[in-house]
């Protein structure tokens, strides 16, 4: 029996539809198991079944159900990039100058790649527009969502040549499948920005890099992908889109107990104590509990940072930037491992892995050097930020820190740090023309700050708390790591640490050894006497 071609294809179509429906109904367990974790399958929502042409279009669709989400988010530091310090000074990415890529101002289109919004290209950004909130950067589960640098936090939905005239094409992103797969946040979401702070993988923090996307237990006991598998939000317990645990509002000492479910707790949920309490060590290690009033948990339990195979930057010298190679092109140098240690755009770097932290008293207060603060070039580096604290204030514990050392541009006449216009397709951007005077003039003008026209370089330091990459208990510091003449806490002042070199007193040791020798002599003499007497009697 034969049938006409069109009838045959109709038969094929109907059968295919029936079989596909049956196949979908009996879909593999992976998909169904994943769906069971959520009460919603976003791919079934009509509003998400469209070909979105921009990020804000997706946000409008999200807000049609999650009506208050944008309003919540617009109250957060993630949105404002601003933080009011207890000392009254305005901090946050929008205001501070650091010693990495220095400042957001005049570089918006590049820095705001990591803003939780769309379109922050200059100081006219509308912080009240709800559709400017980027839902996908935190809720994507496909791992395919990305916002390329230079697009002011926008996504690219059509293949785009960038920079214009370069011949390089940024591939378009399909937003529909991403919008249909949204879910709660994971390490990959937070890591998309926080692993890459400072302009690259692991650059800034040292204890946050892409190795934490899927770490093993040795790297982090909490995030171990084959064990506890904590998401960032497991500790940074978020409510109303407010994410606790910012380094702008640190908790250096937590005297509260472990948080019990159902019991109200207003403290910072990201501290170790909020889960482990004040006496976390078992009876056989109870002596360690005597340390917790003076030593932060991280000090012993994070013996080193940058342990995941990704180097962190330890120093950055901007003063050498701008060198050209023999071919007249911007110079690039790499080390024996192929890691970049010099670029004309950024100067020299020092990279390191498995870094032993420095240690400092910290009471939770951090002071900053901001734009306009008077600084002086001297033998001592300018402190971009500094952890306050001492042994005697009763509020401090000893913390592990990464101290990042740099040399960066400043105005030697006005004696202020400089805002640098680094990125942009214009004549004043340093990465375009390698001219410091033009770059600083444009940067300072963008914030209305005075500039003398002269540029010099000053040594700077910034401090970063080490709180991630918590090692397994067996890899924690041992007594001798601190209680020894060459111990880790050698430079920590104001406290007596038995066995430490700087607490060593030769005269006291002499007395101790003399007493020990005397005791030994006494015991031997007494024993000998006994033996002598007993022999005489027999």
């Amino acid at each position: 029996m034969q049938m006409p071609m069109h009838a045959a294809f109709r038969t094929i179509a109907v059968m295919a539809a029936m079989l596909m429906a049956a196949a979908a109904h009996g879909a593999p367990d992976a998909a169904s198991a994943q769906l069971l974790k959520s009460t919603s399958d976003h791919s079934k929502f009509k509003v998400l079944q469209q070909d979105f042409q921009s990020g804000p279009e997706v946000t409008k669709a999200c807000l049609s159900c999650h009506t208050e989400a944008a309003r919540q988010l617009q109250l957060t530091q993630h949105w404002k990039w601003e933080f009011l310090n207890p000392d009254g000074r305005r901090l946050g990415k929008k205001n501070v100058i650091n010693n990495f890529c220095t400042s957001v101002a005049s570089n918006y289109a590049y820095c705001t790649t990591c803003h939780i919004g769309y379109g922050w290209k200059d100081d006219q950004f509308d912080f009240t527009a709800q559709e400017n909130v980027d839902c996908l950067i935190c809720h994507d589960t496909t791992g395919n969502y990305r916002k390329p640098s230079g697009f002011a936090g926008n996504v690219v939905t059509r293949d785009t040549e960038f920079p214009p005239g370069s011949g390089k094409v940024v591939k378009a992103l399909k937003l529909r499948p991403i919008a249909q797969e949204v879910a709660k946040t994971s390490r990959d979401n937070c890591g998309a920005c926080h692993f890459f702070g400072g302009g690259g993988d692991g650059v800034k923090h040292g204890d946050l890099d892409s190795s934490l996307a899927s770490p093993d237990k040795a790297l982090d006991v909490h995030m171990d992908a084959t064990g506890n598998n904590f998401a960032c939000a497991t500790c940074h317990m978020t409510e109303g889109h407010q994410v606790p645990g910012s380094r702008y509002a640190p908790t250096a000492v937590d005297k509260g107990g472990a948080h019990l479910r159902g019991k109200e707790r207003t403290g910072n949920p990201t501290t170790c104590q909020s889960c482990h309490g004040q006496a976390p060590h078992k009876a056989n290690l109870a002596k360690l509990n005597d340390h917790t009033d003076k030593v932060a948990c991280q000090t012993c339990h994070i013996p080193a940072y940058a342990r995941g195979g990704i180097a962190t930057k330890m120093a950055w010298d901007w003063s050498t930037a701008g060198r050209m190679g023999p071919d007249g092109k911007p110079l690039v140098k790499t080390d024996a491992k192929g890691r970049v240690i010099y670029t004309a755009a950024k100067g020299h770097f020092v990279l390191a892995e498995n870094v032993v932290p420095e240690y400092a008293w910290f009471n939770g207060k951090v002071t900053y050097t901001l734009l306009g603060d008077r600084i002086e070039k001297s033998d001592q580096p300018t402190r971009i930020n500094h952890f306050e604290g001492s042994a005697s204030d009763g509020k401090s514990t000893i913390w592990p820190v990464k101290v990042f050392r740099g040399k960066q541009a400043y105005d030697p006449v006005n004696q202020t740090l400089a805002v640098l216009h680094m990125a942009g397709n214009d004549d004043t951007a340093f990465w375009t023309n390698f001219n410091w005077e033009k770059a600083v003039a444009a940067g300072m003008a963008s914030v209305g700050a005075p500039f003398s026209g002269q540029v010099d370089f000053v040594s700077t330091e910034s401090m970063w708390p080490i709180t991630h990459m918590v090692a397994p208990a067996q890899s924690a510091l041992k007594c001798r790591d601190c209680h020894a003449s060459d111990g880790r806490l050698e430079k920590v002042s104001g406290i007596y640490i038995p066995g430490r070199g700087s607490d060593h007193a030769t005269w006291l040791d002499g007395i101790g050894w003399a007493l020990a020798a005397l005791a030994l002599f006494g015991a031997l003499a007494h024993g000998s006497g006994r033996i002598f007497v007993s022999r005489r009697r027999t």
């Binding site: 045959a8 295919a16 596909m20 593999p28 990305r146 084959t226 195979g309």
Partner: protein, 133 residues
């Protein structure tokens, strides 16, 4: 002239179409995060220690990986790739490998699909090129 197709041919074409759809959907449905963990903690661990070094997903193209996975030839054809994803293999190493232990009960095909998702996604021309870390 009216072209005709036999019903048997129509059904065959139909089944072929469904099969291709199922393969495609299957790959897309893989849990790439689980695939990543297995790839890094089992494949990479072993390659790093015993097989001359790790092989990053971004060292090959989607086409290369697709061909490699379809061929199911491991160690230049000495054995099958699927052997190293099988429950039996996972059971044999779960005492010393936490990923194998964690995913001990995941059906073979499902886990293979997860790994495939990660590798294609992490290929050098994939949606999210991935190194070994």
């Amino acid at each position: 002239m009216t072209k005709t197709v036999s019903p048997a041919c129509a059904v065959s074409l139909c089944l072929l179409g469904v099969a291709l759809h199922a393969i495609g959907a299957h790959a897309a449905d893989g849990d790439w995060k689980r695939g990543r963990v297995y790839y890094q903690k089992v494949c990479t661990d072993c390659h790093g220690a015993k097989a001359g070094g790790a092989i990053a997903p971004n060292s090959r193209s989607i086409k290369d990986w697709t061909a490699y996975l379809s061929a199911d030839r491991h160690a230049r054809g000495k054995d099958a790739l699927k052997k190293y994803v099988s429950r039996e293999y996972r059971a044999s190493i779960k005492g010393v490998n936490k990923a194998a232990e964690k995913y001990a009960d995941v059906p073979d095909e499902q886990l293979f699909n997860d790994i495939r998702s990660f590798m294609l996604k992490g290929a050098k021309d994939g949606d999210s090129p991935a190194s070994c870390t």
